[in-house]
């Protein structure tokens, strides 16, 4: 363990443990945070990061171990106690109230009031000052929060933390909902906070980000800290991946296999458009080919995918699968023709979290296992088990509750759903969102395998690197228009970004 005595530790966590109904979530975590630093906590999904955060913010009580706050042994009995100590938490699901104004959100729970009557003017004045301190003076304290972007909601959430005497802010994957420009701004704000002596615990999957913003890193694996307080500058990336996953990750993207030139066209899109969302798009995907859509959030890339799938009604144009034109706006038609979609928001659009894994795998096909409308659980389970073993889903239990699986394994369920009964076209929207590095490589090679098996695949991702690494061809999208279509070998990340920036400006 690296101990550095230059600055005293603000928070000192030793060997804390926590288990739920016999399942161990934390098996001994050490974490030392100093005032004024950005301390990154790195770990795969299911490693125990969320439990750690909730323990520090007073949601859970640890079963064992010690917590020292400003040198004194402390128990953080409740979220209110955490706030009183000066620990504020920004959860991934932003905890702002859409119907209230910026100022009302900032002072939620500790309103400025005299005898129960709100002092609106002074609250607005103080809120304006806090927003200005965070570099967002342009946002009026009277704005309704529901009308703000995710990035600005985060700023409000941060202002709320500052409105109390906060010494430590825990940020749980704050960049997950942001595009690259917004992430830059977030980092600027984080830097200003730390310069004023506030410590930040920053949780993220993205190693690049940690490189940019982090001072020190604690890595968690299987509920244990495998490294505590490593200096970011002196730890190479492969070392971090090894600490996180317990194995070496040689090459993330699997080798590209050239698509045979005589491979038939499976998916054809002609002049497809939705008024107000994107202008006419034409492209075709051959069996075994992966086509990527690259662009920023809001560029229209997900909308294109959803329209191909029939989840949105097209204004013009048509979609053909193996020569047959699909009915406009009909998901059932697309599914019947062998098209499958893995949606952008895994939890809200893809999964029944409280159902067992096998029912999620067969959600699109349980009718085909049924005889005269009567379900056949046994055959469904068997078919699901087959996919579970071929996709290496963990745990390999068809009756496991879907909610308990990690992000990577939940993503595999969405792929398995379309493999159960054979598909020809797979539409993958953000297939690795919220999936950690180790599981990512697995999903990449899975997607490659599916293409090699003859599926036509369209992939959308906000990570340009991912599109370029996986796809054979890429369509660069900005402002609802396809700017260019090119082989991925002929363009690099900077090339795509240049196009996107110019396209958005035009």
């Amino acid at each position: 363990m690296i101990e550095d005595d230059h600055s005293p530790s603000l928070l000192d966590v030793r060997q804390i443990t926590k288990s739920f109904a016999g399942v161990t979530a934390l098996a001994g975590v050490d974490l030392t945070v100093r005032a004024g630093e950005v301390h990154c906590v790195l770990g795969q999904n299911g490693a125990g990061k969320s439990t750690l955060i909730k323990t520090l913010s007073g949601v859970y009580q640890p079963d064992g171990g010690t917590i020292h706050w400003q040198g004194r042994a402390t128990t953080i009995a409740s979220p209110v106690a955490a706030l009183a100590l000066g620990i504020a938490t920004m959860y991934q699901e932003l905890d702002v109230v859409d119907g209230l104004t910026v100022a009302e959100n900032i002072f939620l729970g500790h309103e400025n009031a005299t005898g129960g009557v709100l002092r609106v003017a002074s609250a607005n004045r103080e809120a304006a000052a806090l927003m200005a301190r965070l570099g967002h003076a342009a946002i009026s304290p009277r704005t309704e929060v529901g009308s703000l972007s995710a990035a600005n909601k985060q700023i409000v959430s941060m202002a709320r933390a500052l409105s109390r005497d906060t010494k430590l802010i825990i940020m749980d994957e704050p960049s997950a909902v942001l595009d690259s420009e917004e992430v830059k701004n977030l980092f600027r704000v984080v830097r200003e906070l730390t310069e004023s002596g506030i410590a930040v615990i920053y949780i993220s999957h993205r190693l690049e980000e940690i490189r940019q913003i982090g001072d020190r890193i604690t890595v968690i694996k299987d509920g244990r800290s495998t490294a505590s307080g490593l200096a970011v500058a002196h730890t190479p990336t492969p070392e971090l991946i090894r600490l996180m996953t317990g194995r070496d990750v040689a090459n993330v993207f699997p080798a590209r296999v050239p698509v045979p030139t005589d491979s038939p066209v499976v998916l054809e899109i002609e002049g497809l458009s939705v008024r107000g969302l994107f202008s006419p798009v034409d492209f075709a995907v051959r069996a075994g080919e992966i086509v990527g859509l690259a662009g920023l959030v809001g560029s229209g890339r997900s909308e294109i995918l959803e329209t191909v799938y029939g989840a949105r009604r097209a204004t013009t144009g048509l979609v053909r699968v193996a020569g047959t034109t699909l009915r406009n706006g009909s998901v059932n038609g697309a599914v019947a023709a062998g098209v499958g979609l893995s949606p952008e928001e895994r939890k809200s659009q893809g999964l029944l979290l409280d159902e067992p894994v096998f029912k999620n795998i067969t959600l699109a096909t349980f009718g085909r296992f049924a005889l005269g409308g009567m379900l056949n659980d046994r055959r469904e389970r068997a078919a699901a088990a087959e996919q579970i073993s071929s996709l290496e889903l963990r745990p390999a239990d068809p009756d496991q509750l879907t909610r308990t699986l990690s992000g990577g394994n939940q993503q595999k369920i969405l792929l398995a759903r379309w493999l159960v009964h054979g598909t020809r076209v797979l539409l993958l929207d953000e297939p690795t969102r919220g999936v950690d590095v180790g599981a990512r490589a697995e999903i990449y090679s899975l997607i490659r395998r599916l293409a090699a098996a003859g599926n036509a695949i369209v992939i959308v991702s906000s990570e340009i690197e991912e599109v370029l690494g996986l796809a054979d061809r890429v369509l660069v999208v900005a402002d609802g228009r396809v700017l260019t279509t090119t082989n991925t070998t002929d363009i690099d990340e900077h090339g795509v970004l240049d196009l996107v920036m110019k396209g958005s400006a035009a």
């Binding site: 399942v23 969320s50 949601v59 959860y91 905890d95 409280d354 159902e355 049924a370 009756d399 509750l401």
Partner: protein
Amino acid sequence: MSEQNSTVAIATTARPSPTGGAPSSPPSALKRMMGGSAGRNLGLVIALALLVVVGAITAGDRFLTVDNMLTIIRFASIIGVISIGMTFVITAGGIDLSVGSVMGLATVVSTLTAVQLAATQTSWLLMVLIALGVGMAAGYINGVVIAYGNVVAFMATLAMLVGARGLAELLSNRQTQIVNNSGFLSFTRADLLGVPVLIWIFVVVAAAGWFLLNRTTFGRRTVAIGGNREAARLAGINVKRHTVYLYVLSGFTCGIAAIMMLGRTTAGTSTHGTLYELDAIAAVVVGGTLLIGGRGTIVGTVLGVLIFSTLTNVFTQNNLSTSVQAVAKGVIIVVAVLLQQKFASRGGKST
């Protein structure tokens, strides 16, 4: 219990699966069962048993007779049939407030002079078919307005509640219409193996409902839509069409209840079924079906209905007023739902 104080903890709390699941991983098999439907139903059985004990102690001989037991179940049977349909609607995340007045309307339409005349000339089954038809038609209108008109179920069925009641008053001219078809009455008032036909109808409807919910694609779609509507839609389930089916099913059970009501009271009137929607919803939710959808239990609903009807019986046997019953009912609903939540959150965790 600081966990309960945090909205985050509640939001990430896992709910046990409605089917319990096969005991495939040894250490959790028992826990899964107890946290699953069996464990929850056990709670309801205990509550029911407690009521029976209270009844036996306070009303003794009068309570513990076979006749009285049959009375309790017969009393439960009409609400019970409606509650089965309601279970499906609620499991899919909807609500049907119109059940009581649709049942009332069905009793009125199938006892209109013209209908009874036609039934005498043909068969008493005509009255049955008309009652079922009225229920399904009302359900169809509910379903179409909700699914294709995108009106929230609460408002659409509230409108049907008011509208159907009004139509029943118009058609009957607020008069009670006596059933004079002897074939109809001899069927609905008959006994089979010493058990009234009304109870048999309830048993058959409950069994069919259990099968439909747990063993058919229709049931799976219902749970999927209630659990995650968008995921169901994107998996290719025709959510709108299924929604219409669900309200037609609910209307269908109202039609069956109307036939039973005519048998029991031998008269059709626009006031039949007043406030039945609340009794049905209470029974369904107390039974363990989630009001937000995604989990439904027919066994739970049956137990819920029996608990309320036993309670009413115990109070009646002890000569307590209906006002006292109403207060007790209110308390029981709250306590039962609180206990439900406690059961449901057990074993929940997040990482």
